[in-house]
């Protein structure tokens, strides 16, 4: 492949440096890019060659750690999975929407983590079939079909792009949001889990599944094809069933 042609591109980055100025401002950079230059490569180039004061998060540079989310021309994207070859004209980079900005492209993800923790995202087996015995350990059984039921929803890398895409989260940060609700659903669907009832207490709140209006943009931007919109709305069905059952049981 000989597409290593180097051209010059401009990118504008929204800067915010609370140490020195109270207001954000736009800064332009000009840099050489080729066919394989990702946005993350570009930011690293800026940091090392042009302006070492630019702050952003990154780590794996292979779209699996979930660190590097930013807005690219208004759409949430992973920097390491966005290629400049796909953009004509000006490229505008901003911190992820709907999260408080700490500095430059770095946002405060604390609320996202709180929401994740709130849904009890771990296997709850209050009634284990076989108690775990370190001397003679045994796994649960789970067929490939049972695995397939939740597998897609277990692929979330916690990048938070879906929160930036979801206007309901933007309007009300108390909304548990797509990724947390998806994680809850992932465990609810796991044949080894018995914690659905406990999780329902969180899901079946106004700020749980019921704040979602199926905008669906969350699934559109998800870099891992998790389809959180589907998970959240399947969660509504579950929550509705749960309520019905609770009503009948008194």
């Amino acid at each position: 492949m000989n597409t290593q042609q180097i051209i010059t591109k401009h990118i504008s980055v929204k800067r915010y440096m609370p140490d020195s100025s109270a207001e954000p401002y736009w800064q332009q950079y000009e840099l050489p890019v080729d066919d394989s230059t990702s946005l993350l490569d570009a930011l690293n180039h800026i940091k090392e060659q042009l302006d070492s004061t630019l702050s952003y998060r990154w780590s794996c540079r292979m779209a699996i750690c979930g660190s590097c989310g930013v807005m690219v021309n208004g759409i949430p994207k992973l920097g390491c999975k966005t290629f400049l070859r796909d953009y004509e004209g000006e490229i505008r980079i901003e911190p992820l929407s709907h999260f408080p900005v700490q500095r430059d492209l770095v946002v405060d993800m604390e609320i996202f983590l709180e929401h994740l923790a709130a849904v009890k995202p771990y296997l709850i087996d209050d009634n284990p079939v076989k108690p775990y015995d370190p001397q003679a350990p045994e796994t649960y059984q789970q067929s490939p079909e049972q695995l397939a039921r939740y597998k897609q929803f277990a692929n979330c890398i916690n990048c938070g792009l879906c929160y930036s895409a979801c206007p309901q989260f933007g309007l009300n940060p108390e909304f548990l949001g797509p990724a947390a609700l998806t994680l809850a659903h992932r465990y609810n669907l796991d044949s080894r889990d018995h914690g659905k009832k406990q999780r329902m207490a969180e899901l079946n709140r106004h700020e749980g599944v019921w704040s979602c209006t199926f905008v669906g943009f969350c699934s559109k931007v998800c870099p891992k094809h998790v389809d959180p919109a589907a998970a959240v709305n399947q969660g509504k069905v579950e929550a509705a069933k749960h309520t019905l059952i609770a009503l009948f049981k008194g």
Partner: protein, 126 residues
């Protein structure tokens, strides 16, 4: 995590509204295209056979048990569907306050539903 404990307020009404919304959504999508086409377009344009919805035939069709079900599926459920979307839409564009909007919208839908069904019953008895 304790923060969450005092917010554990369960939304027992939401499943009801969402259930009505969904059922209404199905009716809106599956039934209403035909209903609107025949009643609100073909009928007034005179494109239906004259006696198809003559006063007598219309009364007979409507003021009956199937008519009652028809009104439930074509008027009541879609009204709840609409109420739900209007309520959320108002929240989306920051109009009013959700707890009041909720009462207004679902209340309105319920009121109109009762009127509609009441009309059928009245016609049936009368």
């Amino acid at each position: 995590m304790n923060k969450h404990d005092n917010r554990h307020k369960q939304a027992i009404d939401e499943p009801l509204w969402w259930g009505l919304f969904s059922a209404g959504g199905v009716c809106f999508a599956v039934l209403l295209p035909a209903v609107i086409l025949f009643i609100a377009v073909l009928l007034p344009l005179g494109l239906l056979p004259a006696e198809a919805l003559s006063y007598e035939r219309a009364s007979a069709l409507l003021f009956s048990v199937p008519g009652f079900l028809f009104v439930g599926a074509v008027v009541c459920l879609p009204l709840f569907h609409a109420a739900h979307r209007l309520r959320h839409g108002m929240f989306d564009i920051s109009v009013g306050n959700d707890s009041i909007n909720k009462k207004l919208m679902y209340g309105g839908a319920a009121l109109l539903s009762i009127v509609a069904l009441g009309l059928v019953v009245a016609g049936f008895l009368g």
